[in-house]
Structures are given as structure tokens and as C-alpha cells.
């Protein structure tokens, strides 16, 4: 066999800088030499044995290749297989480059100080606009305008994945890439959790970031549904408003307690079957608090949507598609989304 016109990853790309170290390997900003195009290169060691490319890697990477045409999923443009210095097989995933992610975006607003509710801004603006510091004012106005758009795009991207039977399982601000100029949001790291984990690990408990993890996962449910992603969407929604994590637990138990303090400790009435889940124990009994205590500046429609994303019972949680139809998004101009 003769290889013609096939460049190895090292020959085809010039690494410009390392921009991250993900769970599955290093991420570089790179330039494709042939076209000058800027891409994100994810370099991953393959966990080979006598089988060569693991079946799970093959299946999950193939999914990403199939999803490459949706505007709200980060596009996997190419896959290159190579070898590192020790002769081990390395996979380079070539993704479209996005200049920031939602985590950085939120952090940039956190430094602007306290939040002023959008409806108050509107009232004050109509009365005496000159009183306020212009920069401070427009930062918050900017965020309140884009909140709906970002949330709509997130729901749309998740709806696309779920419509094709694909769960993400690790939705978090860091995995939601953004283009600062166009304010487009895209879902990243789809399927990578399963594609590149050593199979013997219990990935369900060790990979998914705690803060955005659904209660049924924390309680050891063995059958997941798309609802686990919608819980994550709800947590991200709240964080976009307050710029703080909604449930910042530092252990699985603490994560559960954070949730129970706000939403009330679940019981068989609000969540049939909860006491039979594997990790269920006796917990302190809290009564549910109003969501407005945690997200005070979100309006009534937003609070309603958020409450439907944070239903305890997975089957009662709103779907991504239904979320897109919620009245909270009615006044959003969706033509370019």
C-alpha cells in the first residue's frame, strides 16, 4: 500500500499554544499549515491492548463525526492517528476553534461587582441614565440581553443531541464554547467521557463534574435518561444569572445536601422510588425554599422554566425541546439561532 497525500498530525499542524489540559488529554490552539486555519487540537493517548483502537473510542468518535453539521455542537473536523515519542498510539481530534467558554465568560462578569436586576435597570434608565457609571451599566445590560439567547442556544443544542439519542452527561460551563464576537454557543466534549476512559473505571461517578450532576446520578441510579442533562442545564441557567454556582458541593454527600437545602429533602411523595435508589440514606429533613431565594434577579417566567429543569423526578423534568417552547423565550428574536 502506498500512502499518498496523507500528512501526520505533526506535519499537518503547527501548535501555537497549549490552551488546556482536559480530562482526556492536552488541548492546543494550532494552525493547519495547508489552509492557515486556526483549530483546536485535542491530543489523547489511546488505551490500547491487543485490540488496537478500542471499540468505545471508535463508536463515540464516529458519533462526533455524524454530529458535525449542527451549528450548536462543536464540529469535529478531522481525526489523525499518530505515535508519540515512546511509540504509543496517539489520537489527534481536530475541532473548530472557539475563543472562549461559558466558564470564562461568567467569570469576566463576576469581576464587575454586584448584580442589578434587569427590570430595575430598565426603570432607572428611563428616569435618570446619567447617574450610573456607563461601563458598569452596560456590562449588566449586555448580560441580561444575552442571557435568553445563550440559554436558548444551549437548549437547542441539547435538543439536537437528545433528538439523536445522544446524552452528553458532562454539561458544565467549561464544556460550552463561545464565540465572543457572534455570541454563538456550542456544546463540546460530547461522548468523550465514554470514548477515552479506561473501561474498568466507573466513569459515571468519577468523571461527571459534581456541581452539575443530577440527584438521581448522585443517588446511584443505574438507568440514565436525557433528564440528567436537563438538570445540568438548569444549574447553568441559574449560574448565568447569579454568576455563582447554584450547588457547589465538594463531595457527593455535600452535593446532595446543597440540593436538598434549597429544593427540600425528597421523599416518596415528590419523587416516587427515591428511597429505593442505591445510595439513599437518612438525610436531614429540609423544607423546599422558593427558587427566588437562590436566583433573586430572575424574572417570574425564568423562575418557572428553571423550576421545571430542576424537578426531582427525572420523568417530570422538562425536555430540551419543550424548554425551547417555554414562554420565557417568547420575546427572543430566534431568527439567527
Amino acid at each position: 500500500m502506498e500512502k499518498t497525500g496523507v500528512l501526520s498530525a505533526k506535519e499537518a499542524f503547527e501548535k501555537l499554544e497549549k490552551v488546556g489540559e482536559g480530562t482526556y488529554g492536552k488541548v492546543y490552539r494550532a494552525r493547519e499549515k495547508a489552509t492557515g486555519k486556526i483549530v483546536a487540537l485535542k491530543k489523547t493517548r489511546l488505551h490500547e491492548d491487543e485490540e488496537g483502537v478500542p471499540p468505545t473510542t471508535l463508536r463515540e468518535v464516529s458519533i462526533l463525526r455524524m454530529l458535525s453539521r449542527d451549528p450548536h455542537v462543536v464540529r469535529l473536523m478531522d481525526v489523525k492517528q499518530g505515535q508519540n515519542k515512546e511509540g504509543k498510539t496517539v489520537l489527534y481530534l481536530v475541532f473548530e476553534y472557539m475563543d472562549t467558554d461559558l466558564k470564562k465568560f461568567i467569570r469576566s462578569f463576576r469581576q464587575s461587582g454586584e448584580t442589578i436586576p434587569p427590570h430595575i435597570i430598565k426603570v432607572i434608565l428611563s428616569i435618570c441614565p446619567s447617574i450610573f457609571n456607563i461601563r458598569f451599566f452596560f456590562v449588566h445590560l449586555f448580560l441580561s440581553i444575552w442571557l435568553q439567547s445563550l440559554m436558548y442556544q444551549l437548549c437547542k443544542g441539547v435538543a439536537f443531541c437528545h433528538g439523536h439519542g445522544i446524552l452528553h452527561r458532562d454539561l458544565k460551563p467549561h464544556n460550552l464554547l463561545m464565540d465572543r464576537k457572534t455570541m454563538m454557543l456550542k456544546i463540546a466534549d460530547l461522548g468523550l467521557a465514554r470514548a477515552f476512559t479506561v473501561p474498568i473505571k466507573k466513569y459515571t461517578h468519577e468523571i461527571l463534574t459534581l456541581w452539575y450532576r443530577a440527584p438521581e446520578v448522585l443517588l446511584g441510579a443505574t438507568h440514565y435518561s436525557m433528564a440528567v442533562d436537563m438538570w445540568s442545564v438548569g444549574c447553568i441557567f441559574a449560574e448565568l444569572v447569579t454568576k455563582q454556582a447554584l450547588f457547589p458541593g465538594d463531595s457527593e454527600l455535600q452535593q446532595l445536601l446543597h440540593i436538598f437545602r434549597l429544593l427540600g429533602t425528597p421523599n416518596e411523595d415528590v419523587w416516587p422510588g427515591v428511597s429505593k435508589l442505591m445510595n439513599w440514606h437518612e438525610y436531614p429533613q429540609w423544607n423546599p425554599q422558593s427558587l427566588s431565594t437562590a436566583v433573586p434577579s430572575l424574572d417570574e417566567l425564568g423562575l418557572d422554566l428553571l423550576s421545571q429543569m430542576l424537578k426531582y423526578e427525572p420523568s417530570k423534568r422538562i425536555s430540551a425541546k419543550k424548554a425551547m417552547e417555554h414562554v420565557y423565550f417568547d420575546d427572543l428574536d430566534k431568527r439567527h439561532l
Binding site: 500500500m1 502506498e2 500512502k3 499518498t4 496523507v6 491487543e50 485490540e51 488496537g52 483502537v53 478500542p54 471499540p55 471508535l58 463508536r59 463515540e60 468518535v61 464516529s62 458519533i63 463525526r65 455524524m66 453539521r69 449542527d70 478531522d78 481525526v79 489523525k80 492517528q81 498510539t89 433528538g163 439523536h164 439519542g165 445522544i166 461522548g191 465514554r194
Partner: protein, 329 residues
């Protein structure tokens, strides 16, 4: 995530079908490559040899698996021809395509079992694991890691629903026959230029014409009206597929062997049995009895085709057949 030829995604929602039509070209040999391949006679014979190899090596496995392996082969050939058709290279390609198909479709198969199966050989060639892995990497690169192939099987359920037969026994019968036709037609080089969705539509129309001729016109209309389907492509593809289905029936009749369990064969069997009782041991009578209904079926099929005129090849074949019979008399 498991992979299934009927559902390249794990669950096929109604929303997903339009996306399948959108991306199917990324997962099949393209029309341009088909033209290129046809210009290379060497590659056509090599393809035939490779398909035989794959079928032979994977005959102990699920037939769907060898279908997927052949799909990988075709896409590999479309991307880059084979410059050195040495026997060991061909065998390595066949083994690697099967290995990749096994990885995509099975978690239950112990890999070592599959490996042993692939390495049993009449040719005495046994490949090192690393050699297979290098070939796999080459194939993966050529296919751009798009291993969840979109095949005609991905579209059958959609078209059956379009024909109004979803969840009906009639739909299941049609699906079974269409699947049979899709399996057999994979070897046919003339289908290379057609999209999987077009092949699926044509196979279903062929099956419906064969099994449910009275409903055929309404099925044809339902499929032709679909905005996802190019009517001219279906007409062209239908002709090729009908040729394949007819050739299949000829070989069945000539060999006296039923290769498919369809109502037509059931009728033949009944007629033959009935005739045998009346004319014990008379060979000539049996021969005449068998040929008569087949001749009628062929005639009806040709004149009843809603997608175009008569096929001259079939017409000539029929004349020759009749002529031979008359000579015997």
C-alpha cells in the same frame, strides 16, 4: 453507544431522519468516485475478489456484520484505489474491514475469538496483530473515522411509514423482502453511484411490485412525492435493482433451489407438488409446469413497471428461454 445499521444513532426520532438525509453523502462512496472506479477495470475485479474474501471470512458471523465490512471496503476503495493487488494485501484489507465492523457492532464477541476466526486460512497467511492494527488505522483515516455508516437499512422504516404501513404486518413483509434485496444488491457495482436512501426506496418499490402489485402505484406515488427523494434517481436505481431481483429468481428457478422464502416460491412449491401427484415421474410435464408461471410473472413485471419502459435485456432473455423450450418439443 451501540451501533445498529437501521439506527446509526441509538434512537431514531422523527427529527433525526432529515439529518440522516443531510449527512448520508458523508458516509457513502460518492458519485464522482463511482465514475472513477468504473474506469478502473482492475479495481472492479479486485472489489469482486475482496467481497468474496469478506463473505467467506465472516460467514460464521452475523450477515449484517459482513454487510458493514463491505460498506467499509467500498468507501475505502472510493477514497483510494489499490495499487498493489497482491493476495496478502487483499486478505489484510478484508480482515481489517471485518475487524473494524466487529468493533462497531459487538461488545459481546471476545476479540480473541474473532481474531482466531479471521486468521484461520486456506492460504496459510496469518497476520500479526500489529499489522492488522496498522491497516485498520489506514482504513480509519481513509474513511475519516465516519464508521457509523449510513446504509439503505437506515431509511427503510422511514419509507414504510411514508407508504402508510408502519406497524402493519404488510409493512413487515415488505421490510423483510426489501432487506433481502438490499443484501443481495450490495455486490452490484452499478449501484455505487446511488445514495443509500435511493437504494432503500428502490428496493421497497421492487419488493412491493413483486408482493403487492395492486398497491404498487400508490406506494410509488407516496415515495415519489417525498421531498427527500429524487424521482429520476429512483427510476434509474429501480431498474438496476429489478434486474438484480430478476436474476436472483432466474438462478433460483434454474437451480430448483429456493433462496428466499417468499409467497411466489410458496406458490411454485404448491403447484409443483400438485402436478407431481397427477403425473408421477414424468419429467417433461414437470419442466413445463415449472416454467409456465415464471414466464407469466416475468411478463407482468416488465409491462407493469411504473418507472419506465421495458428492459431490452430481459426481453431478449425471455425470448431465448421460450425458444429453448420450443426446441425441446
Amino acid at each position: 453507544m451501540e451501533f445498529d445499521l437501521e439506527n446509526p444513532f441509538e434512537n431514531l426520532h422523527s427529527d433525526a431522519v432529515s439529518y440522516l438525509f443531510l449527512i448520508e453523502s458523508d458516509h457513502t462512496p460518492s458519485q464522482n468516485h463511482s465514475q472513477t472506479l468504473k474506469a478502473r477495470d482492475l479495481d472492479i475485479s479486485v472489489r469482486r475478489e475482496l467481497i468474496s474474501l469478506i463473505s467467506q471470512l465472516s460467514c460464521a458471523l452475523d450477515p449484517v456484520l459482513s454487510y458493514l465490512a463491505i460498506n467499509y471496503l467500498d468507501r475505502f476503495l472510493a477514497n483510494q484505489g489499490i495499487l498493489q493487488p497482491k493476495p496478502w494485501v487483499l486478505r489484510l484489507i478484508a480482515v481489517s474491514c471485518i475487524s473494524l465492523a466487529v468493533k462497531m457492532m459487538r461488545t459481546e464477541y471476545p476479540f480473541t475469538d474473532v481474531q482466531a476466526l479471521l486468521n484461520q486460512s486456506d492460504g496459510g497467511i496469518i497476520f500479526e496483530t500489529q499489522t492488522i492494527q496498522r491497516m485498520e488505522a489506514l482504513i480509519l483515516g481513509a474513511l475519516q473515522w465516519r464508521m457509523r455508516s449510513i446504509t439503505p437499512f437506515s431509511f427503510v422504516a422511514f419509507f414504510i411509514a411514508l407508504m402508510g404501513l408502519k406497524d402493519l404486518p404488510m409493512g413487515q413483509v415488505l421490510k423483510n423482502r426489501a432487506s433481502e434485496i438490499i443484501f443481495k444488491s450490495q455486490r452490484e457495482i452499478r449501484l455505487w453511484g446511488f445514495k443509500p436512501s435511493i437504494i432503500a426506496a428502490s428496493a421497497l418499490l421492487c419488493a412491493s411490485h413483486e408482493l403487492f402489485p395492486f398497491q404498487y402505484p400508490s406506494f410509488l406515488k407516496a415515495i415519489s412525492d417525498s421531498s427527500y427523494v429524487n424521482k429520476e434517481s429512483v427510476e434509474q436505481c429501480y431498474k438496476v435493482i429489478q434486474d438484480i431481483a430478476i436474476e436472483e429468481e432466474y438462478s433460483s428457478a434454474l437451480n430448483g433451489v429456493s433462496s428466499s422464502d417468499t409467497p411466489i416460491n410458496v406458490l411454485d412449491h404448491h403447484f409443483l407438488s400438485s402436478e407431481s401427484q397427477k403425473t408421477n415421474g414424468i419429467t417433461v410435464a414437470n419442466t413445463i409446469a415449472v416454467s409456465s408461471p415464471l414466464r407469466d410473472l416475468k411478463r407482468r413485471k416488465i409491462t407493469g413497471c411504473g418507472c419506465g419502459g421495458n428492459n431490452p435485456t430481459i426481453h431478449n432473455s425471455r425470448i431465448q428461454f421460450s425458444h429453448a423450450k420450443e426446441s425441446e418439443k
